[in-house]
């Protein structure tokens, strides 16, 4: 029995190594999926081998869980990640990552600049609107009060704007390509 177990262990190790080589080389994500499926099967076989060597029945639930997880993984990859842009299967170099980061920061600053310019324009428009001749001092007082109110409200709105922007930036850390939306607003 020991010889059999040793033979099986060697065979499974070689199989797993070969599948791992294919998973590393695999030109596309689907080739890697197939290779990793084989790897999951090899792991299942190895756990079963261990259980039969030690006559342990308590590792059987591991087999159930492994077969479940392997199915979910390959199905998800095939369903959602079948479209890969050219060059996606490649690990990026440090310089490329730095360039992408610089581009992202530049776009963010541009969006911020556009927002500030728009806000300045709006403030100018409001200022040219504001001074109106008023006969009654009471009306002037009321006008002032209203303006103060409006200014405070404007400040609140700006704060909210900034908070929104902060949330935007948070999103950007995860998925690039949301800047255009920000600058268009």
């Amino acid at each position: 029995m020991t010889a059999v177990l040793l033979t099986c262990a060697v065979l499974l190790t070689v199989a797993g190594a070969l599948a791992l080589i294919r998973a590393e080389r695999g030109p596309s994500m689907l080739d890697r999926t197939v290779a990793l499926d084989i790897l999951v099967t090899v792991v299942v076989a190895a756990v079963a081998l261990y259980a039969s060597a030690e006559r342990r029945a308590d590792v059987v639930p591991i087999l159930v869980v492994l077969s479940l997880v392997g199915f979910v993984g390959s199905t998800t990859i095939a369903r959602f990640a079948s479209v890969e842009p050219a060059g996606e299967g490649r690990v990026r170099t440090r310089e490329e990552i730095a360039a992408e980061e610089a581009e992202r920061i530049r776009a963010e600053e541009e969006a911020e600049e556009a927002r500030r310019a728009r806000r300045a324009r709006e403030a100018e428009g409001a200022a040219s609107d504001a001074p109106r001749p008023a006969a009654d001092p009471a009306e002037v007082r009321a006008e002032h009060a209203a303006h103060g109110d409006e200014a405070r409200r404007a400040r609140v709105v700006a704060d909210e704007d900034r908070r929104e922007h902060g949330a935007d930036r948070h999103v950007d850390e995860h998925g690039a390509g949301e800047h255009d939306e920000g600058s268009a607003r």
Binding site: L11, L18, D31, A35, T41, V60, L63, F71, T75, S82
Partner: protein
């Protein structure tokens, strides 16, 4: 002539375990050496069903206890249900993203059927490249 049934069970279990491990090795070699996605899938599905069932038979012959064997039957059933689904999804995604090498195929019924449907005036929904999602 009297049989020692424990020894018989152990020998059969050994044969099954070695068979399963050999199938896994065949899958490893095949997935490394075959040229395109579909032939790699062909190699990879050998240990997923037959190899796994052999290994589980070997294990249950070694364990010889009721509850564990039922759990192993469950594993085999689940694998037989899910392996075709996963293989179908992978193959479809591979076809739609153009990872199938036409020069290696003997018969290509899907492309023929799509051509016929296109000629009949149905919009070609499944043409590779036109729509990769689905």
């Amino acid at each position: 002539m009297s049989w020692d049934w424990d020894v018989v069970a152990d020998v059969v279990a050994s044969i099954c375990l070695i068979g399963g491990a050999l199938l896994a090795l065949a899958a490893g070699v095949g997935v490394l050496r075959f040229p395109d996605l579909l032939s790699r899938m062909h190699a990879g599905t050998k240990p997923q069903v037959l190899g796994l069932i052999l290994v589980l038979i070997g294990l249950s012959l070694r364990l010889r206890s009721g509850g564990a064997v039922w759990a192993l039957v469950l594993v085999a059933l689940f694998q037989m249900l899910t392996a075709p689904v996963a293989a179908h999804l992978v193959g479809r995604a591979g076809y739609r993203t153009g990872k199938v090498r036409r020069d290696l195929l003997v018969v290509d019924e899907l492309t023929d059927a799509q051509d016929q449907a296109t000629r009949r005036g149905t919009p070609p929904e499944d043409a590779p490249g036109s729509s990769a999602r689905g």
